[in-house]
Each structure stands twice: as structure tokens, then as C-alpha cells.
Amino acid sequence: MLLIECPYCGPRDETDFKCGGEAHITRPEKPADADDQSWGDYLFMRTNSMGTHYEMWCHSHGCRRWFNVCRDTLSNKIHAVYKMGEPPPRVDDPTRSRSQ
């Protein structure tokens, strides 16, 4: 079970939270103008990283705030936690290749 540091409450067990999937997926400004391809990408395409992954979490059994987590999907190490609207931090850990 992950230990996640809520930026508003502090470290809590994973069971306090809900994962909202990949972060920084931008909703097209004017959906009506988006072509089928780009709308489909927005709806369905996710990076599915093996390694560094930026994702949204909600402290649903606590403060109910959404925030972002940068996590290594292979080791589950959490590199950073940051608030909505803040830019994703750079992580030195390069995304590991699939062959490893």
C-alpha cells in the first residue's frame, strides 16, 4: 500500500485516496473545433509509462482535494507531489526502457 503525501493533509495510506489516472491531459479549448483524431486522443490515449508517470490523485476520504503525483510505475517510488495547476517537476530518473 502506497504512502502518499497529500499536499494539504500530509502522508496518508493509499486507501484514503482515489487515483484519477494520468495528469496534464488538456481538454481541447473548443471541443467543437477538434477533429475526430485529436478528440479521440484526448478521450482515450494515455502514455502507460513504465517508469516516471504523472498522475492525479484525490484525497477522497480526507480533504477531498485533487492534486498531482509523479510516481515510478515500476518501483512505486513517489518522486514528487504537487498541487493542481502547478507545472510537473522534472525527474532525473529517466523512464526505464521496457527491456529491463
Binding site: 484519477g20 471541443p31 467543437a32 478528440w39 479521440g40 477522497s60 485533487w66 512505486n76
Partner: protein, 1001 residues
């Protein structure tokens, strides 16, 4: 029965506390401090079970949690537990245990015939034989399970209670052997919060099994002093009888503590039986010790053949002689130490060593005791069916791949195998650390740590006891420092005097045989009956990957997870394929280390505590009036109210007619209610719902459809505008939390600029909905401050007033198709309102109805239920609600409605179905076909989503999703049911009052 194999002196048993127990119906006596296994051995009982596949007689093999053979059915009736290791069961007065896997008795087993025909039962036999024809598998499986079952699950409810607890610590130490105790002491002395856990009943680990001098005193004195110190420290929690079973991410560790398992049944009052510990540790030290490896030779599974360290444990710790005449078969010095201890306990010992020599001091001591020593020798085979009687030994040739000279017979009743040691890497592996193979030690050792974890002692491949003490101490200090406790403390390791400390080992993974190769019945996995020959067959058939070979032969897949078999199997596969052990692979260990009972995992979350139950303020009235319940999410909703002698259908028929012709009353409290407030509240609704909201006047209500971004319907309900900046949204009963989440994620992530907040108010309100031709008359009696006329209070508006003197918000909405009023009052007034409505409504024939009648009435109207008539692939236009989709604004899901798939003409659309036979009520989920063909495939063009008998209409009604359904009204379709075909015609889904004159009136 006398304990004929018990020693007069020594051991950690209490001879003044005898314990009577029964095994396979026979009464025996042991002592407090015994395990079931040691007590059986004290009584000369080795044979405890039959093997899984061949039903070969099997005996006690180990003295700990690695036991593959001695699994018993413990206790009977509600207390019974299958597959419990006799080597871990602490003996208590009145214990009852029975053998598994045997019928009619362990001495004479009918399925032993499998053993005779074992040539026909090679690896993969079950897969090969029983997978065809597929539909017969169920039948085969039942027979196989019956014949080979691994014990029986209890059929009664577990009478015991179980607990759970959460704990945090700076340093968690797993294991209380030399390394673990040293680590715990060193860490604890810095002031760090330390938890120490060990699966055994007392601390000490292998120090309890060996005859070791520490600082010139028996090891027990040092262990006692260490335990005393740890117990006295307030920052230390010492947990014995506690198995750390699982190691998850971020140092989250789960342990199962046995609190009363060692006490007589029924003697513990309301004490919990076990407690599950969920521990978050800053630092973890794994001092889990090592498991001894068996040697693989012919008939190495005979009762009386056991691990050397087990025999040593039985002699030293339990004061039991596991035999009178022992052959110790070893490839390293630890076997010699066991042999010397056995000899000192009066056992006649022959030492058979694969190597040319042992450590000189050991050889000298063996000679002092006149032990027969056979170096460069192997045990080729064991003889004796239900107990070993003899072994054949032979000289190994110089290449160690064959025998030289003829074999010789040695009489014995005990064979001890000392094949080297495997560090117990299970938790390390679970922590996602990779194992690495150590050529010198011939075993896997922990590689680099992945988490804040370190291994110490034998678990780290440090088999030398002296080094284990110092390594444990250093690990304890370092872990405490890493957790922020850097205080300098004094810790000195004791001076160690042990017989064997050498790590000189000569591996021989498979003992050669004079006749066949690989020799038959050389067991690798004892629990799953996998032999070296099985592994060879698997490789020959192409299962070269160790993971495939393991699964094919089921090696390592028993309840012991191959603790004694994995490395031998891996090495034998490597030998057959000619690859190195490292290249062949490792095994990944998965939680739990040893099985945990479901009761322990469930804890107190059982029965009524399994899931919270939500009840409305009127719940007691429903109960008192005989309501049957439907679970909707966590809510208990009244389903229908049967009167004496009524079936469900009788009751709903009566409730439907009453609502259509007089008044029905429904407890609608469970509908989700969310208050949405702020200057941008209307903007939010406009973006969330498919229809427009800005123009909705205060005092009005509107039905809204909510879609996900993919354009599919996700929820629906009526929302009231309470003020310019304030709305009350209703959601479906089971979906309220998800809808609130939905609003919040959009507000927090995509539109943080909107000034809106949302609050769940579901539980603040109680709602009684009255419906029917007399609803207005009844309400007028109880509510005098509101003009209820249709002109003053039209359909889809709301107002405030008093009902029965209670402040109320009344909404004119309808789910039944009749004139309806939803009366909302503060939750505490719910019961008073309901009682008054029932009292005053009696003269009109007011009839309470439940969810079933509600479903029928709405289906008559063609109203959908999101989640029943929609399934996450349905768009508003598909259910005839295209008019609810605004073209003037953007909203969540709108763009998706223009994707090519959304515009396909052959989409499924909501229709009504009327069966040719009006009395035929279709099953929900029935598939619709255009024509009946004599055999499949028959193209399916839709399915029934809702289906009821309509008493009011006098015929059955069904809603269905049908390909191009909107354009098929009037057509005929077929429904292919299990036992017949039914014809129906497609119609408008609005069966009753299609123009809404009644509910508007």
C-alpha cells in the same frame, strides 16, 4: 500411551504439564511446549498423511513453517481448519487433529493405487487427460479434488472473532534469531520505536534448536536476557506467534498474530483468536533465517526421512529422539553438527557426506563418539513403505555424476538430509528486491535493496553464527540511524561457540542412481508430488522456461509455496538444460509467506459490519409494515409491502392499481441530493448537463441528463433552482457519491475559475412522494399555506410551505406518471410527516409502495433508469432524448456525440416490446433476434432491459435496446429463450399516457 521417544532431560518442554490430544482417533500425551509434530514423534508417530497425487505415505519432514508434508485437519465442526502444519501447531489440552488426503485411513489408503499406476500419472497428466472434452472438466475435477483434496473447508460459520490493528514504527525487525535479536537490541537502545516479530512461540530462532554456547553459557540465557531487555523498553513491541506474511510498497508490512490458537478451544472467552497487523515501518530489517534443503534421491519422501536441522530441533528443543538409528546424509558441515547432537541424545548415527572431508574439529568429534563416517558417499535410495527401514549407500565417482562400486545396505529408522541452506528470501522478494546466486554458498542471496530495507544473518547468506550476531547489530544501528536515531550506544556481540560455522558446501542437486536416470520417485516438491523425473519430462516436452516447467509440474505451487523445493527444482532444470542456475532464473515469491485464514483478513468486518447500512428516517415504519428490502447502494429501500398471503406479484399489482386509481406513497429519501451554490452555479450545470440551465427560473425544476466525456449517459435526475445562485440536484440513489466526485473533479482540475461549491445534502432531507388522482386532495388537507391548483403550482415547479405543520419544500415532479408531490422535510421530521400522510390518507386508500412498483409505473411511462436501461454505451439520442441535447452550448460529452460511431444509423435504440401472448413476461436480458434459425449462429439485434407485468394495462410490457429500434415500431421480432421462442412487436416505449396529460393535470 507412553512417550517412548522422549528424552529424560533437556528441551524447552514442561514435563510437569502433560497435554492429552487425539490424532486420527487415537489418544496420546505430550507436554506443554510441544508442537503437534514433536508430540507425535515423542509417541513414535511419523506417518501423518498421504501425498497429494500418488497418495504415498508421508511423515514429518521439518520442524517449522516450511513443512510440506505434515498438513493436518485441525479440530472438527465449526472450529475445523484444513492444511495446518503440524510442525507449527502448539500442543494444547484436548487438541484433535486428523490426517488429510487419505481414505479410509492413513494406514490403508484406497487411492494408493495411484502410486502403483504412477507411470500413468506423469507431469501434466491432469492437463493432458482432463482438459478434453472441455465440458467434462467439471466432472473430472470433482473426482480429482475428492480423491486428492487438500483438507476440507469448514461448513459452519467461524465462531471465533478476529482483530485488526494499524501500527507505525521506526524499525521493524522480522525474526528473533541471533541476527534479529541483535538488530532489535541495537535499534531499540537508540530510542527508536521498534517492532520485533517472530512466527514462533518464543524468541530465539535457530538458537533454540542448536547447542550453542554464548559467552560460555547456553544460548538460552543470552536469549532470555535479550527478551527481558526488549520487553522492558517502552519503545519496543515484541510480537511472538506473529508471522510477517506480506511486504508491500513503501514499507507497508502485514503480519498475522496468533493470540489464542495455542489455548484449548473455548477457553478464551471473547478474546480474539488472531490479529492482523498492518505496519508502516520507516526501516525494515529482515532477519528471517534460512531453510534447509532436502537432497534428491530415490524414495526421499518416506516417513522417517526429514531435514537434518529438524531432527536436531526435535532432539534439542523438544527432547524427542526422532529415531534410534540415524543416517545423516549431508553435503556441508551443518549435517555433522546435527549428527553429533543426535549421537549425544543416544541415537546411533552414520554420517554420509558427499564431500571428501568435513571441518577437522567435527571429524575429530565424530570419531570421539565412534560414529560411522562415509565420505564421498551418497544415499542412493531409501527402503520401507510406511517408515524407512534401510538405506542403500554407495560411493560417488570422481565426476559426481555416477556411482562407483556396489551399494551397501544400512539399517536405520531415521534419515536426516542436510543439503545446504536457502536464505528465507520470501519477504525480500516481495519487497521487489532481486535475488542473486552466490556460487560459493550455492544459494540465492538478497541483491540490492529496493525499499528502506536490509537483510541480516542467515537471511543474508551469513550462515556463520558469530557473523550473524555482528551483522544483526550493525543492521539495527544503521536502520535506527536512517530513521533519525543516531544516538551512540554500546552493543557488544556475544562470544560464540558453535560446532559448525563453516560454509563449505558441495552441491549435488540430484543423486545419481545405479539403474535408472533420473531415478524414479526422487522427490523435489513433496507437497505437490513433483519428482526429478517430472522436471526432466517437462524440459523434454519443451517447457524450458523455469516458470513454465514449474507450472507444468506444479512444483512450488502448494500451500508451502515450495519453501524446500524451489531451489532444488531450479538447479535440476539448470542441470538438465545445461544452463547455469543464474541463467535459468529465480522464483518470485508472493504474499503471504504462510497461508492466512479468511477470518484474520476479514477481522471484525463481518456480518452486519461488512458494509455500512444506510436507513431512511422512515425505515422503522417500513419494517413494522412488513416491507421486503432491496439494497440500493448501501441503502435499504422498501421493495414492496406484502400483505398476509401475498406474493411479490400480488403486492405490486395491488400497489400499482392503488397508485393509478387513488394514492400511492413512496419513501424517496434515498435519491441523491447535492446543493450547488455560487455565482457560477448555473454555468457549472450548463457544462455538466446536456440541456440548458441558464434560463431556468427560480422556483422551477428541470430534468437533466448527465453524460461522461465519451457521450454516454452516466446519470439523470431533476434539479431545482432554489435561488439565482443556488440549485438542488437529484441523482439516482446508488450514484450520488459518484456524481459529487464528478462535479468536484471538473471544478478542481478543469474549471478552478468557477465560483461554485457542492455539498451532499442527501441525509439532511427526508422525502415522501405521494402520487395519484387523490394526491392533491390529500396534500390540501395537510398544507394550507400553498395554493395547490394546477395554475398556481404547475408540473415541474416547487414551492415552500408547511405540511402537517412541518416546514417543507414541495416539488411537483413525477416518476409514476400521475400527479405527484415530493414533500421534503428536515430528516428528523421524516417519520412524523410519513405518519401523518398515512393517517390522513387512509380515507383515500393511500397505499405505500416500494421500488418494484416504482419500476413498473415508470416503465409503463417509458422512463429509463440510468444503469438499468442504459449500460455505459447509450447516448441520449439512443433513448429518444435527442431533444434534451442542447445545440447552443458545449457540455461534457457533446463532442463525442459527433464521432462517427455515435452517428451510425444501426445504433441500438430504446423501444417498447409487446408480446403476442399478453401474459408472457419476458426475462430481462433476453436477446432479440430477427428470425429464428435451426441452429446458431443467430444474429442478435438487441436485448430486453426492463420487463414487467402491467396490471393497469392488462398485459406485459418490456423496454429494450434494439438495433435501429426507433424506425422499427410495428415490426415483429423474436426472443430466443432457454425453453421457447417468443414473438413480440416493437412499439413506442411510452405505454401509458404518452402525452403526459395525467401527470400534468
Amino acid at each position: 500411551m507412553s512417550q517412548g521417544y522422549r528424552l529424560f532431560n533437556g528441551g524447552l518442554i514442561q514435563r510437569d504439564q502433560p497435554r492429552t490430544f487425539r490424532f486420527n482417533g487415537q489418544e496420546y500425551i505430550g507436554f506443554a511446549g510441544d508442537t503437534l509434530a514433536s508430540a507425535l514423534l515423542a509417541n513414535g508417530v511419523h506417518l501423518v498423511g498421504r501425498s497429494f497425487k500418488y497418495h504415498r505415505p508421508r511423515g514429518i519432514f521439518s520442524a517449522g513453517s516450511e513443512e510440506p508434508n505434515a498438513l493436518v485437519q485441525l479440530e472438527v465442526g465449526a472450529y475445523t481448519q484444513p492444511n495446518i502444519r503440524a510442525t507449527q501447531i502448539e500442543l494444547y489440552q484436548g487438541l484433535i487433529a486428523n490426517s488429510q488426503n487419505c481414505w479410509p485411513s492413513v494406514e490403508f489408503d484406497i487411492h494408493q493405487i495411484n502410486s502403483v499406476f504412477s507411470r500413468l500419472l506423469p507431469s501434466g497428466f491432469y492437463y493432458k487427460t482432463f482438459m478434453w472434452p472441455k465440458r467434462m472438466w467439471m466432472t473430472y475435477e470433482r473426482v480429482i479434488r475428492n480423491a486428492a483434496g487438500m483438507g476440507k473447508a469448514p461448513t459452519e460459520n467461524d465462531p471465533d472473532i478476529y482483530d485488526k490493528t494499524h501500527a507505525h514504527c521506526d524499525v521493524l525487525v522480522v525474526g528473533t534469531g541471533a541476527a534479529g535479536l541483535s538488530a532489535a537490541l541495537a535499534a531499540a537502545r537508540t530510542g527508536a520505536r521498534v517492532i520485533v516479530a517472530d512466527e514462533q512461540s518464543t524468541a530465539g530462532g535457530s538458537l533454540l534448536s542448536r547447542r550453542i554456547q554464548l559467552d560460555d553459557e547456553p544460548a538460552g540465557a543470552w536469549v532470555d536476557a535479550a527478551v527481558l531487555e526488549l520487553e522492558a523498553l517502552e519503545n519496543v513491541t515484541l510480537l511472538t506467534r506473529t508471522t510477517v506474511t506480506s511486504y508491500f510498497e513503501h514499507n507497508f508490512v502485514v503480519a498475522a498474530q496468533r493470540l489464542t490458537d495455542h489455548l484449548p478451544l473455548g477457553s478464551c472467552g471473547d478474546q480474539p483468536r488472531q490479529r492482523l497487523w498492518k505496519i508502516r515501518a520507516s526501516q525494515v530489517i529482515l532477519a528471517t533465517g534460512a531453510h534447509e534443503r532436502p537432497l534428491v534421491f530415490k524414495n526421499n519422501d518416506r516417513p522417517g526421512v526429514m531435514l537434518a536441522n529438524a531432527a536436531q530441533t526435535y532432539v534439542n528443543r523438544y527432547a524427542v529422539r526422532p529415531g534410534h538409528k540415524a543416517v545423516v546424509f549431508c553435503n556441508n558441515d551443518s549435517g555433522w553438527e546435527a549428527g553429533l547432537d543426535l549421537s549425544d541424545a543416544g541415537v546411533q548415527v552414520t554420517l554420509v557426506d558427499i564431500r571428501g572431508q568435513a571441518a577437522p574439529e567435527l571429524e575429530a568429534q565424530a570419531r570421539d563418539r565412534d560414529l560411522e563416517i562415509l565420505t564421498n558417499h551418497v544415499v542412493v535410495t531409501a527402503h520401507g513403505r510406511r517408515h524407512v527401514r534401510q538405506v542403500e549407500v554407495a560411493r560417488l565417482n570422481s565426476d559426481a555424476d555416477g556411482l562407483s562400486g556396489s551399494s551397501r545396505i544400512i539399517d536405520c529408522d531415521l534419515v536426516c538430509m542436510a543439503g545446504g541452506w536457502n536464505p528465507a528470501l520470501h519477504l525480500f522478494s516481495q519487497s521487489r528486491g532481486r535475488l542473486s546466486y552466490d556460487q560459493n554458498l550455492s544459494c540465492f542471496v538478497p541483491g540490492e535493496s529496493v525499499q528502506a530495507e536490509r537483510s541480516a544473518g542467515a537471511a543474508n547468506g551469513t550462515f556463520d553464527l558469530g557473523f550473524a550476531f555482528s551483522e544483526g547489530r550493525e543492521a539495527g544501528k544503521a536502520a535506527a540511524a536512517d530513521a533519525g536515531f543516531r544516538q551512540r550506544t554500546k552493543s557488544v556481540s556475544p562470544k560464540v561457540d558453535a560446532k559448525s560455522n563453516s560454509t563449505d558446501i558441495r552441491p549435488l542437486w540430484l543423486v545419481p542412481s545405479a539403474s535408472d536416470h533420473p531415478p524414479a520417485k526422487s522427490f523435489v516438491d513433496f507437497q505437490n508430488d513433483a519428482t526429478a523425473a517430472d522436471l526432466q519430462l517437462a524440459v523434454r516436452e519443451g517447457y524450458r522456461s523455469v516458470e513454465h516447467a514449474k507450472r507444468y509440474t506444479t512444483t512450488g505451487m502448494g500451500t508451502d509455496q515450495g519453501k524446500t523445493s524451489n531451489v532444488n527444482a531450479l538447479a535440476i532444470i539448470a542441470q538438465i538444460t545445461g544452463a547455469s542456475i543464474e541463467a535459468t532464473g529465480t522464483t518470485t515469491f508472493r504474499p503471504p509467506y504462510t497461508p492466512i485464514s479468511f477470518g484474520t483478513l476479514a477481522g471484525r468486518d463481518v456480518g452486519e459490519f461488512m458494509d455500512p447500512v444506510r436507513r431512511t428516517p422512515m425505515h422503522e415504519w417500513h419494517r413494522a409494515h412488513g416491507a421486503c428490502w432491496e439494497d440500493v447502494g448501501q441503502w435499504k429501500r422498501a421493495w414492496y409491502y406484502p400483505q398476509e398471503g401475498e406474493s411479490m406479484h400480488d403486492a405490486t399489482r395491488r400497489e400499482c392499481i392503488a397508485t393509478r386509481s387513488a394514492i400511492g406513497i413512496l419513501d424517496a429519501t434515498t435519491l441523491g441530493k447535492i446543493e450547488i451554490r455560487g455565482p457560477d452555479a448555473a454555468v457549472l450545470l450548463n457544462r455538466i448537463y446536456t440541456n440548458g440551465w441558464k434560463s431556468l427560473p427560480v422556483g422551477a425544476c428541470r430534468y437533466g441528463l448527465m453524460c461522461a466525456e465519451d457521450g454516454f449517459i452516466f446519470d439523470d435526475g431533476v434539479t431545482l433552482r432554489l435561488a439565482e445562485d443556488r440549485f438542488l440536484m437529484h441523482t439516482t440513489s446508488g450514484n450520488a457519491a459518484r456524481v459529487l466526485d464528478w462535479l468536484e473533479i471538473w471544478l478542481q482540475t478543469e474549471w478552478p475559475d468557477l465560483q461554485v461549491y457542492c455539498n451532499s445534502v442527501t441525509e439532511q432531507w427526508a422525502t415522501a412522494a405521494i402520487s395519484g388522482p387523490f394526491a392533491r386532495q390529500l396534500l390540501a388537507e395537510l398544507c394550507t399555506d400553498v395554493d395547490l391548483s394546477n395554475q398556481a403550482f404547475p408540473f415541474m415547479t416547487w414551492c415552500t410551505g408547511h405540511v402537517a405543520g412541518i416546514p417543507a419544500r414541495i416539488a411537483r415532479v413525477s416518476f409514476t406518471g400521475e400527479v405527484s408531490f415530493e414533500i421534503n422535510v428536515a430528516a428528523d421530521y421524516g417519520m412524523a410527516l410519513w405518519s401523518q400522510l398515512m393517517l390522513s390518507g387512509e380515507k383515500y386508500g393511500i397505499t405505500p409502495f416500494g421500488t418494484e412498483t416504482m419500476h413498473i409505473l415508470r416503465a409503463e411511462k417509458g422512463f429509463i433508469i440510468a444503469g438499468q436501461d442504459t449500460d455505459g454505451t447509450v447516448m441520449p439520442a439512443d433513448v429518444g432524448l435527442a431533444r434534451m441535447v442542447s445545440s447552443a452550448k458545449d457540455f461534457i460529452g457533446k463532442r463525442s456525440m459527433l464521432r462517427p460511431d455515435s452517428l451510425r444509423e444501426d445504433r441500438h435504440q430504446l423501444v417498447g416490446l409487446r408480446t403476442d401472448n399478453p401474459k408472457e413476461v419476458l426475462p430481462e436480458g433476453a436477446q432479440i433476434v430477427a428470425e429464428i434459425k435451426p441452429e446458431p449462429p443467430i444474429e442478435m439485434i438487441g436485448y430486453v432491459t426492463s420487463s414487467y407485468w402491467s396490471e393497469h394495462l392488462g398485459h406485459s410490457i418490456a423496454l429494450a435496446m434494439l438495433e435501429k429500434g426507433a424506425s422499427r415500431h410495428g415490426e415483429q421480432v423474436w426472443l430466443s429463450l432457454a425453453d421457447k421462442q417468443v414473438r413480440a412487436s416493437v412499439c413506442d416505449p411510452r405505454f401509458y399516457d404518452p402525452n403526459g396529460e395525467r401527470m400534468n393535470g
